[in-house]
Symmetry: C2
DNA sequence: TATTGTTATACTCTATAACTATA
DNA sequence: TATAGTTATAGAGTATAACAATA
């Protein structure tokens, strides 16, 4: 007896699960956890962000960012330099290796996406994209990249 | 330079995030964690499941089910009775309180869904549902309920 | 006084491996 | 030998609170 909206929510969750199940496996093979991918791609879109900014954009607590940044710095994918204008803060940037990882992420995302949407006619894909864009246009939330 | 499929994947993830962000908050107010909700609704669709069956359907390791079942039993939402036909196994069932929680979950899901899809014309909602169903029809994965 | 990022701590969820009791 | 479920252990990810340094 679910309303149309309820079923739509369930379908959205099911579709997401189907999509990310493959993605997690593929990314995991390359040592890329969802949280790391999210932080890297977010930083790519907002170079020289401070940790606080990333926390806000990602919609997590500031505390959650510290261990991820530590790990990514150890991995050699990002650098953390003192903010010249605010000695409390750090500016994060992608290293060359980090940019290489961004490329890898993009390739993997493309592979996974093309793989999973392969069975869908191109026209349906376009229409689905249009409707999702329309839906997102009517919502708020911390806008953010995939993974 | 993303292909249509890549963008579609990103849109799907973004839409899911927008949807679940509200849901988690709403459910959390009622002490319902995502994992608990998933197990309860799965059990509702497959009464008298064994723990192993649930693990398979949920797509997690058997070990992951034990603490959830313990907690839900303590909460008085499910019962765990020896399987008469296999003395190694247990049969899980929802209690009356558990069925009440299922109703609550359904109400919350409906509220969240109607809330978030409110800005979308009914026709677009139907078309989006149709396309998501079509997409899911072309995929596999451990079929499963929402939250 | 407010803010950035940290340390300390705890919670949820899940995995792997070793074990037991049954099959 | 294989399976159902447990114990033990470990890890990722995140939250809150208290704190330091800076604004």
């Amino acid at each position: 007896m679910s309303s149309g909206a309820t079923e739509l929510g369930e379908l959205l969750v099911a579709a997401y699960r189907a999509f990310t199940q493959q993605g997690r496996a593929r990314f995991g093979e390359h040592g890329l956890s969802p949280a790391k991918v999210r932080l890297l791609t977010t930083l790519h879109h907002r170079q020289d962000s401070r940790m606080r900014d990333l926390a806000d954009v990602l919609g997590v607590s500031g505390r959650a960012v510290t261990p991820l940044v530590d790990a990514l710095e150890s991995d050699g994918l990002i650098t953390r330099k003192p903010d010249p204008g605010d000695r409390r803060a750090f500016r994060l940037a992608l290293t060359d290796a980090g940019l290489g990882t961004i490329d890898q992420i993009a390739r993997l995302q493309q592979q996974v996406s093309e793989d999973i949407f392969r069975g869908m006619p191109a026209e349906d894909q376009r229409e689905l994209a249009r409707l999702l864009r329309a839906f997102l246009g009517t919502t708020h939330g911390p806008g953010c990249p995939p993974a």
